[in-house]
């Protein structure tokens, strides 16, 4: 039976992996963050059969506005879960509230395994740190 991965799992794992890699802050201003996550999700979806994953969520930025409901809901959920905080005054910077130890703990307890999330984080950072990264087409 395929391993189920929810949006919660995906975001907790990705945030944990980014924290594990020492990331402290990520900007969510505009729709670039959403677009990058959509790219990461689409990569994951494409390779889901190889990992025997059953993805129970979708990330599809709005075809006009570019923001993703799934991403925004996940940010709110992660804030509620005390994994991140949103910096005043504009709430556009996500600040990680978990350190490496906690991150490793989550990575080891989430479905699909630690390495998968570390790989997702690598793909995310590759695009995030490239100012010319292409926005995912709807």
């Amino acid at each position: 039976m395929a391993t189920r991965m929810t949006a919660d799992d995906f975001f907790t794992g990705l945030l944990a992996a980014l924290a594990y890699k020492g990331r402290k802050v990520i900007s969510i201003r505009g729709d670039r963050f959403d677009a990058i996550l959509a790219d990461v999700f689409n990569d994951l979806k494409e390779h889901a059969p190889e990992h025997d994953l059953d993805l129970r969520f979708r990330i599809k930025p709005h075809f006009i506005h570019g923001d993703s409901v799934t991403v925004r809901d996940a940010i709110a959920a992660a804030t509620l879960a005390d994994l991140i905080s949103l910096d005043n005054p504009e709430y556009q910077d996500v600040r990680f509230k978990i350190g490496r130890d906690d991150a490793e703990f989550f990575l080891n307890t989430l479905p699909a395994g630690k390495q998968l999330y570390l790989d997702l984080a690598d793909r995310f950072l590759e695009r995030y740190e490239d100012p010319d990264s292409v926005r995912n087409a709807a």
Binding site: A19, R58, P61, R72, A76, G99, D101, D102
Partner: protein, 903 residues
């Protein structure tokens, strides 16, 4: 072409909902055909509706024909707010009047777009009528109890959730669609609905609608573009300030009596449209539409009306918190979910269609007629499931709702365990488990099993026998904390200036989504809901399961949120404890020992905590922002209760009262007193005895408080040895002296007489070793033992270091001091217990700590049982039971002053 296998559930749902709509509409459509055939004169006046919110609303004749169809009339039997009326009695309004109200709002929005800022109307009669009809029909996809049923079905039936994913994969504009939206899409897109609209046009002689109106309506309900030259026209139906929102927010607030600040009238007055050439369109909008139009119309809100959108966000947050997340509303909603859980597996058409087979009245009754509509023609075949479902339905009907039995959240108010890593991590795992339908089910199973044990232990098994099916499981439900979902589309609006320039609302008001979400975010709790009869027992069962499975501790501050009291729970726990229920459980679960319930304990604990205020203990990475101090009354109480018997608990209370924290002032005082008698060291270098990772680094920082008085300068030892200054090395504690000896041996590169397996920097270079041997050196400890100081003194002399060793506080409080205890017998009993506990906690074969090794360390290294702590850490010579954690005879032992592990 999409792989058809990928859309199995969605295709099946589309077929079923279309068939359902077709069956529903068939007689009515036949009637319309006859009417068309009879060529009766058309109704030219439509109908006027008196609406409680908007006054008189006029529907056009075509709209009336559609409204009169069973598809729309069934909305009279579906409450807008599901079960909210069980809490807010006036909230009986239905999807029907909301749909009519949405028509009124679309008319206002269109008027505003046509009137303000343009030379000519941008939306003609035909398109206006299309939008009106779409608004009227936008909720045809809702099922019983509106969002309650779709939430219950999506969260508990994987095949329903799969419909949503497959729909999102198939429809470009959909990301996180709700079942009601999907149903509306397929109903409106069905041939039957197209026929209805077509016949409506015919019998009313109204052919003003654009071509293929139902295709356009179908696109609009999922937010797809319907006109390239007005790219955001569909957002008047589903968008930042759409007709749906303007009606439901006003209607829901009015009917429930919940005041919100949203000024809808003002917002409508701020609606704007501007005409732009393609190159001035927002890039993202231009990308979504065809080229070739001379001009495009961008719709939005005037720049000066931005705050009306803020108000919309505030209103949404208030409604979310006060209505949709009201704990009694949530209790009723989980009961609906529980009913579905019993019935849906037996429904021949599958779980998704359950929402369309029933209306609200059916759910409160579940008579044979309702079951027949579900396709269940032999109710007896359902067995206990039917009995359970009907029991739940009767409870809803008679408002005998579930109650809260347990409450939790990641951040709980006044949580004394917030700094504890296991507890925090456990809460996060609990949160995720509660949000996953499969894991939630397993968790409920474990709680149900535990509840059975609790009830048996209390002789209350009859409560289970009284339940239909003799099973508690259907009557337990976890509803996790939720952030407001659907991310809000309000920030997507465009703000349009008087000069025709535009800016995105979320760029100008970037903070709005954040602060408006923060309000409900910080308040939301998760609950276990159950029947009032089971609640106190369910609390006990849940507390234990969460402690064992997730290491989550229950702060007493959460009892009121679970509507439990200590007076209710404690007697039950005592009975259970007497029967051995807690024998292998953590002490914080057990009833408080009698001694700790006495009136003197509260003040004594407060005094202890006050005396030790400033103690922080080790901070784990990433937890720095959480509770600053590990010393608080709850944690102190939990440490004390581990001693179980009144005599030992009393002894432990005394012991805690004698714990001494050696802080900054003590250290400064020690150094000052020493240096006042050692003028030869004035002007010297103040150095940590150790490396930056050792606590001596903190001591050196504290010691700098007195440095100016004696002309001292703070330096590393290596730095100091390159000068000719005398050297004063500082550290916090010397016990046996072995650690300090090991350090000096390492610095001087000599063979160790003491091996502590610590990671150290390299030895001093030879020239600095020589320098250390040829100058005046003092080694000053804030506290410690005479024996340790003497041992170090001797070894330093052997190593050729001319050093004086000084200890500030020599008279250390210790459990060996009989004056702490009420009697020698009490002291003996306490020492025996602590020695046993300490030894158990220290045994760890993996690191070579055998039982033999631990034998003489049960009361602390050196077996001295000191009662000394520092603000940042605890020496190993202190009583082991105070700082070591682990298991003692299979039961977790919680230290009060945990140490940071040495590396």
């Amino acid at each position: 072409m999409a792989d058809a296998r990928l859309f199995g559930e969605r295709d099946e749902f589309e077929a079923k909902i279309s068939t359902w709509a077709q069956r529903l509409l068939a007689p009515y459509i036949e009637g319309l055909k006859q009417r068309a055939k009879d060529a009766l004169p058309p109704d030219r006046h439509g109908k006027e509706f008196n609406d409680a919110i908007w006054g008189t609303i006029v529907l056009r004749p075509l709209e009336v024909v559609v409204l009169d169809s069973p598809l729309l009339q069934r909305l009279r039997r579906i409450r807008q707010l599901g079960v909210v009326h069980l809490v807010y009695p006036s909230a009986e309004h239905t999807r029907f009047e909301h749909s009519i109200g949405a028509v009124a709002q679309i008319a206002r929005i269109v008027s505003a777009l046509n009137e303000r800022g343009q030379d000519h109307p941008v939306i003609d009669e035909g398109w206006t009528n299309l939008l009106r009809l779409t608004a009227l029909c936008h909720d045809v996809g809702h099922g019983v109890m509106s969002h309650v049923s779709e939430k219950a079905l999506t969260e508990n039936f994987a095949e329903v959730e799969t419909i949503e994913f497959e729909f999102a994969d198939a429809v470009n504009e959909a990301e996180k669609p709700r079942l009601s939206e999907i149903a509306a899409y397929y109903i409106i897109g069905s041939p039957t609905f197209a026929e209805l609209v077509d016949l409506a046009q015919t019998v009313t002689h109204d052919h003003t609608l654009p071509q293929k109106p139902t295709t356009l309506m179908q696109r609009a309900v999922v937010g797809a573009t319907i006109r390239d030259d007005i790219p955001l026209l569909q957002e008047t139906i589903s968008g930042p300030f759409d007709a749906d929102k303007l009606d439901y927010m006003t209607r829901d607030a009015h009917m429930t009596g919940v005041p919100i600040v949203t000024d809808i009238n003002r917002l409508v007055r701020k609606v704007r449209a501007i005409t732009l050439p393609a190159e001035r369109l927002p890039e993202e909008v231009g990308r979504a539409v065809e080229a070739g139009h001379a001009y495009y119309v961008l719709t939005g809100i005037s720049l000066s009306g931005g705050r009306t959108l803020d108000e919309l966000m505030i209103g949404r947050a208030l409604l979310y918190d006060k209505l949709y997340r009201h704990q009694k509303v949530r209790a009723a909603e989980v009961m609906v979910a529980a009913i579905f859980q019993q019935l849906a597996p037996h429904a021949p058409d599958g779980p998704a269609m359950v929402a369309y087979a029933l209306d609200d009245a059916d759910l409160f009754d579940l008579d044979d007629g309702a079951l027949a509509r579900l396709g269940i023609n032999d109710p007896a075949a359902l067995g206990p499931a039917l009995e359970i479902a009907r029991d739940l339905a009767s409870r809803l009907r008679d408002r005998r709702l579930f109650v809260r039995a347990y409450a939790f959240a990641q951040n709980m108010p006044l949580d004394p365990y917030r700094s504890e890593v296991q507890h925090w991590r456990g809460l996060e795992q609990l949160r995720r488990a509660a949000r996953s339908s499969s894991e939630r089910g397993q968790l409920i199973d474990r709680i149900a099993t535990e509840l059975g044990i609790v009830l048996a232990g209390l002789g209350m098994d009859a409560l289970i026998d009284e339940l239909p099916g003799n099973d508690v499981r259907p009557f337990l439900w976890i509803d996790p904390p939720h952030a407001p979902e659907q991310g809000s589309d309000i920030p997507r609006a465009y703000l349009i200036g008087d000069d025709g320039e535009w800016i995105r609302f979320r760029d100008d008001y970037a903070e709005t989504l954040g602060w408006s979400t923060a309000y409900p975010l910080t308040r939301d709790l998760g609950f276990l809901f159950t029947t009032p009869e089971l609640a106190p027992y369910a609390f006990i069962a849940t507390e234990k399961v969460l402690r064992h499975d997730f290491q989550v501790k229950t702060p007493k501050s959460m009892l009121p949120y679970a509507r439990r009291t200590d007076g209710e729970v404690r007697p039950l726990k005592h009975v259970l404890a007497a029967g051995g229920y807690y024998d292998s459980s953590a002490y914080d679960l057990r009833p408080l020992p009698e001694r700790l319930r006495r009136a003197d304990v509260g003040k004594r604990l407060r005094d202890i905590v006050d005396a030790l205020r400033g103690y922080e203990g080790p901070v784990r990475e990433g937890h720095a922002g959480k509770q600053a101090s590990l010393i608080n009354e709850d944690r102190a109480m939990n440490w004390l209760r581990q001693f179980e018997s009144d005599e030992l608990t009393d002894a432990a209370l005394q012991v805690l009262a004698n714990v001494r924290m050696v802080g900054r002032r003590s250290i400064a005082s020690t150094l000052r007193n020493f240096l006042q008698h050692h003028e030869d060291l004035h002007g010297g270098a103040l150095c940590p005895l150790g490396e930056p990772k050792d606590s001596s680094a903190i001591l050196t920082y504290y010691s700098e408080d007195v440095a100016p008085e004696f002309g001292l300068v703070v330096q590393s030892l290596r730095e100091a040895l390159t000068t000719d200054k005398p050297v004063i090395l500082v550290d916090d504690f010397i016990g046996s002296g072995r650690q300090s000896i090991s350090l000096f041996e390492h610095l001087l590169g000599v063979e160790r007489t003491v091996e502590l397996n610590e990671v150290r920097e390299q030895a001093l270079p030879e020239n600095l070793q020589e320098a250390l041997r040829t100058r005046s050196v003092a080694v000053v400890f804030a506290a410690g033992t005479t024996e340790g100081a003497q041992r170090l003194q001797v070894r330093l002399a052997e190593l050729g270091v001319n050093a004086e060793v000084h200890v500030g506080l020599l008279e250390l409080p210790t459990v060996r001091d009989e004056r702490i205890f009420a009697s020698p017998r009490q002291q003996a009993a306490f020492l025996e217990r602590c020695a046993y506990v300490g030894k158990q906690l220290l045994i760890n074969e993996e690191v070579g700590h055998s039982a033999k090794w631990a034998e003489d360390k049960g009361l602390g290294y050196g077996d001295s049982g000191y009662l000394v702590i520092f603000p940042y850490n605890t020496p190993t010579q202190t009583l082991t039971a105070l700082w070591a954690g682990g298991d003692v005879d299979g039961v977790p032992w919680e230290p009060l002053f945990p140490r940071r592990p040495k590396r």
